[in-house]
Amino acid sequence: MKQNKIKQGVITGLTFGLIFIFLILTGFTQVGSDMIGNLLGNFEKAGAENALPVINLILFTGLIGLLMGLSTSKANLSNTWLASLLNSILAGLIAGLLVGAVILVTGSFHSQGVDFRNYLPKLGSEQMNYLLHYTTPLAAGTTYLITSTVASLIGGAIGKAFRQQSWTAHSMTWTKNTVKNIGKKLKLGQSPQRKIITILGLIVAGGLLYLLPLVWGSYWNYTMGTVAIYILLGIGLNIIVGFSGQLVLGYVAFFATGAYTFALLTAPQPHAILMNVWLAVGISVIVSTLTGLLLGLPILNLRGDYLAIVTLGFGEIVRILIRSDLLTFLTNGPKGVTNVVQPSWLGKVFSDVNYTHFLFLLVLIALFIAKRLKDSRTGRSWIAIREDQTVAQATGINTFKSKLLALALGAALAGLAGALFASRNQFTGPEDFTLMVSVNVLCIVIVGGMGSLPGIVVGAMVLKGLPEILRELDDYRLLVFGALLIAMMIIRPQGLWPAKKVSLELQRKDSLGDNIQEVEP
C-alpha cells in the first residue's frame, strides 16, 4: 500500500527528469528560457557577465518543476495532504537528481576540455557554460536539484489545494453551464462543451504553430520544415498503405517525380523554362498523379508481396533513370539540378519563417483532407479492401478503381512534398531519392500507427526530427531505426498513436436525442 502511494511520484519524477534531459541535449532549454525572458521583458542573449539569462534558465527549470508537481497531485486524488506533498517532493528530488547528475558529469568533462559538439551539436562550449550557470558543475547541479524540488512542492501544493476546495468544484460547474449556454445560443448542437474545447484547442495550437517559427530560430525552422515535408509524405503513403492496405515500397518515385518536375520547370539550368513557382507546383502535383495512375494500371491487380517487389523495383528504376546517361539531356544526370527557385509571394521571396508557416499550413490542409476522406464512403471502401479484398469486391466495391484512386492521391501528395523539398533546398539530385526515403516514410506510417493521422505526425517527429537534432549521430540512424522497430513490434504493435474508431451509433443517438439528459455531477 505504502509502495503504491509513492509509485506515482517516482514515475512522474523519472518521466519529467528524462524530458528535461532531452530538452537540454536538443538545446531547447535555450529556446524555452529565451521565451520566458521575452515574456518578462528582460531578453538578452546569453553572456558570461549577464545574470539575467541564468535567472531565465532557472525560471524555466522551475516552470517544469511546477508542471511536475501539478501532475503528481492530479494522480493522487484520494491521498492525504501529507502523502500528496511527499509525492511532489519525491518527484522533484528524483527529476532534480537525474538532471543534476547529467549536468555534473557533462560539466566535469567539459571543465576538463572535452568538446561535446562532436557528438551533440547543441552542446557547444558556450552552451555548456550557460547550462552550468557560469559556475562549477557541483553548484549548478545542486541548483537544479533545489529548484526542481521546491518548484515541484509548490506545484503539488497548488494542485492539491485546487482539488481539495469545494469552490473549485462550484466554479467548474459554473464554467460548464456557461459554456453550455453559450453553445446553445450559438446552436452548436448537443455537446457544446466538446465543440468549444475543440475550437479553443485549435486556436491555441494555431497560435503556437504561428508563434514558434518566429522565435525558435533558423535551425529549428529547418528541422521542423523537414519534419513537415515528411509528414506530407507520410499522409500520402498512409492513404496507400494505411487505408487501402497496398504495400507500395517505391513511394520515393513519386517524390522524385514531383521534385524533378518542379526543378526542371523553374531552374535556369538545363532548360531555362523559368516557370512561375505556383504554376510549377501545380504541374508537379499533376505529373506525379499521372505517374501514379500509369504505374497503378498494370500492377494493382497484384497483391501483397508481389506488389511490394514490383513497386520496390519501380522506385529504384526512377532514380537510376534520372542519373543515367540516357536522360542526362533531360535531367542533368548525376550532377542534379541547381538554383531551383524558392517560392515567393507578391515579389517577396519566402524567408525561412514564411516557409515554415507555409509548410505547416499545407500539413494542416493535408491532414484535414485525409481525415475527411477517411470518414466517407471512399475511405470506408479503402479500409474494407485492406481488411479483405475479395469480400470488399463482393460487397459491391470496385476494388481496382478504389485502389487506383488511393495510389493517385498518395502520389499527388508525394509530388507536392517533392516540389517543396526541391524548392527549399534549391537543389535536387538523384541521390536525394534513394530507397531509404521510401523506407523512412513507411517507418513513419508504421511507427505512428497504420491508418492513424496523428500517428503520422508523432512518427515523423520521432523518426525525422530526432535524427535531425542528433545530426552527428547520423551514422547510427539505421541502428536506431532497427532497434526502435523491433521494440515497437514487441511493446506496441499497434503503433505509437493507433487509429481511433468513431462511435457512429452513439453519435447518431446524441444528435437525435433531445430526450437524453446529461447527468450533472
Binding site: I369, R372, L373, D375, S376, R377, T378, G379, R380, S381, I383, A384, E387, D388, T390, V391, A392, Q393, A394, T395, G396, I397, N398, T399, L405, L409, K501, S503, L504, E505, L506, R508
Partner: protein, 271 residues
C-alpha cells in the same frame, strides 16, 4: 411469367481433373427459401461461388431474373442484387459493426472523394441516411447498442447476424447464405431460423442457403436440392427428400437405403 430468381443451366466448374460442379440445373423461384444440401465436398459452396461471381463456370449459364450473370465481376453482381454470407465468417474485422453495414451500402451510395473533401449538402444527407439505415439494420438483427464495437470483438452468433446485416445493406433481391447456423447452439439456431423467415416474409427477399443442420433445412425450406459429387441427385419439398433413397445413400453409404427402410418397419412394428 416472371423468370425465376436464379436459374442455372448445365453449370459445370472444374478444378484441373476434378469436376466440382457437374452440369447442375437449379431453379430458385422468387420469394422462396431454397436449400442446397449434400455431404462434404459435394460442390455446394462451389455452386454458390459460381452464382456470386467468385468463380466463372466453364460451361453453362446462370440467369438472374432472366439475365445472364456468369463471368461478371463480383461487384457488378452485387450491384444487380445478389448478396451473400460466408461459411467461415468474413467480416471486416478491424471495422466497427456500423461501419461494416455502411460498407455494405456502398452500391446504393453515390458520393465520391471530392464530395467527401468538401462535405456538400448532398454528401451530408447521404451519409446521414446511410447511418440511419445502418442503425435500423442493427436493430433488425438485434444488435443495437453493439454498433460501435469492432466486428472481431462481437460474440460468434452476433458476427453471423452482422454478416447478414451487411449483406442486407446492399438491398439484395437474392440472398445467399452459406451455413448460417454453423457452430450455433440450439437457441441461437432457433433465432436464426426466425430471422431467415422474417427476411423472406417482411423484406420479400429470395433466399438460397447451404445448411448441414437438417432440422433447420426441413423446417424452413420450400424446396431442397441435393448435390453429391457435383451432381444433382434429388430435388423437391422436404418430405420428398427425407424419403429419397438416393439421398439416404449419399449421406450414409450404398445399401443403407434398404436398411433404413427395414429399420423403419421394425419401429412401426414395435409401435
Amino acid at each position: 411469367m416472371k423468370p425465376p430468381a436464379i436459374q442455372t443451366k448445365n453449370v459445370t466448374k472444374r478444378f484441373g481433373g476434378l469436376t466440382a460442379v457437374d452440369a447442375v440445373n437449379l431453379v430458385v423461384p422468387e420469394s422462396s427459401i431454397s436449400s442446397i444440401i449434400g455431404p462434404n465436398g459435394a460442390g455446394k459452396t462451389t455452386l454458390f461461388n459460381c452464382v456470386s461471381g467468385f468463380y466463372t463456370p466453364e460451361e453453362g449459364e446462370i440467369l438472374f431474373f432472366g439475365e445472364p450473370i456468369q463471368g461478371l465481376p463480383t461487384h457488378r453482381i452485387c450491384k444487380m442484387g445478389i448478396a451473400r454470407t460466408y461459411q467461415n465468417i468474413r467480416l471486416f474485422k478491424e471495422m466497427t459493426a456500423v461501419e461494416n453495414i455502411l460498407v455494405g451500402q456502398h452500391c446504393s451510395m453515390t458520393n465520391n472523394w471530392a464530395d467527401a473533401i468538401f462535405h456538400d449538402r448532398r454528401f451530408r444527407r447521404e451519409e446521414e441516411n446511410a447511418l440511419n439505415t445502418a442503425c435500423e439494420l442493427l436493430d433488425f438483427i438485434g444488435l443495437s447498442g453493439l454498433g460501435d464495437s469492432l466486428a472481431l470483438n462481437l460474440p460468434y452468433g452476433a458476427q453471423r447476424r452482422l454478416e447478414i446485416a451487411r449483406a442486407l445493406a446492399s438491398h439484395p433481391s437474392l440472398l445467399l447464405l452459406d451455413e448460417p447456423t454453423a457452430g450455433m447452439n440450439p437457441q441461437e439456431t432457433e433465432e436464426m431460423k426466425a430471422l431467415i423467415k422474417n427476411l423472406r416474409d417482411q423484406l420479400k427477399i429470395t433466399i438460397l442457403l447451404i445448411e448441414h443442420d437438417m432440422r433447420v433445412v426441413m423446417d424452413i425450406s420450400d424446396k431442397i436440392t441435393v448435390l453429391d459429387y457435383g451432381v444433382k441427385i434429388a430435388e423437391g419439398i422436404p418430405s420428398e427428400i427425407q424419403n429419397n433413397d438416393k439421398v439416404i445413400e449419399a449421406y450414409l453409404g450404398p445399401g443403407t437405403a434398404k436398411m433404413t427402410e427395414k429399420l423403419k418397419q421394425k419401429n412401426n412394428n414395435y409401435a
